[in-house]
Assembly symmetry: C2
Amino acid sequence: MAALKMDTRSRRRQITQAALGLLAEQGFRGLSMSAVARRVGLVPSAIYRHFSGKDALLDEIPDLIREKLHGHVAAVCEQIADAMGRLEQLAAIHAEMLKENQVVPRLLFAEDFYIGHPERKERIYAVVRGYLSRLGELFADAQRAGQVRRNLEPALLATMFLGVFQPAAVLWFASGGHFDAVGHTRKAWKLYRDAIATK
Amino acid sequence: MAALKMDTRSRRRQITQAALGLLAEQGFRGLSMSAVARRVGLVPSAIYRHFSGKDALLDEIPDLIREKLHGHVAAVCEQIADAMGRLEQLAAIHAEMLKENQVVPRLLFAEDFYIGHPERKERIYAVVRGYLSRLGELFADAQRAGQVRRNLEPALLATMFLGVFQPAAVLWFASGGHFDAVGHTRKAWKLYRDAIATK
DNA sequence: CTATATTGTGAATGGACGTTCACATGGAGG
DNA sequence: CCTCCATGTGAACGTCCATTCACAATATAG
């Protein structure tokens, strides 16, 4: 029954990843110390060798999400040079990776995560704003390339970009995975692209 | 300390309303039997005179939400005759009533609500689809009135309509009420309206 | 006014979860 | 090979919550 020993550095990574996985798959409710421990093959009390408590573990999560989101953008930017092409690909990625990206709304609407920890909500908000700001840069690129009308603010463009896949994500989630989020996102993107394109 | 007696019919309504209020204000976590009882001025065990258990109480909630959503549409349709005017007003209402309408995402992402009750998720999905279907009719009206291009499916139009205010709602929520959802929704609606308008 | 059914109360129960602690174990350095 | 510290274990504790139950209070019918 005894689990292999592991140095704290690796174990911490393993534990935070397990927590993120549980959050994505089962939501905040499934994120119990027992469940985390089970997932890494340990006993609940063993977690306390590496984290002072559940709070310390939860505090790691916003950063993991930020890295994940920015990872998507970075990957797209490496593959594609065209500004609008990048955005189109990003929309598609969001529609395809709903399963993993459920973490964001699930964490956002998990009250237990904020109760007594208002700074956590601010951190999540900062992550979202950071992502929107990055999207805004992409739209500004598209404007400089003459692909998007210059009278539209990048911040508005970025926020509305969320509207391209977010409703589809919600419907996909509510339908238990049946709603065709990829198809809807493709159509919505085309409409949005034409709406903001230079005439 | 003894609370006034009340017939089950009225008490049930009072209790379900209290539950809905708690859900809107504090989220699913705040929806404990003790909190519900406190809000109606009773003791937890008294709730069981009117509901067989928490499950029976929770089962009432989707219908309450449906009535609320359809109430918005009905009110707008009474006030305004023009199809596009109705939709514009609906978008504005959604942006203004974020505080109350938080119930929808809060319930949607409350895993505790579904665990062991898959039919509840289906019911919420049915409520959302019903609302989208109603929105689709409004867009079909606008198409018949020659205000919206006929080659766009009403279902797509309705879902994308959610994208007009939904990202603003999420940002408003994440920012703790600071994000200007009303302003963003107004701008987003204008862009969307022009994108789908007959040329 | 009195009897009875309905509604409200307070204490107690059981389960889930986070956390602690005394003890066991394994692996790296002497 | 042996020692010692970091890591893992299992049992126990406190808390919170939903639920139950014996009892009290109240309204209403007769």
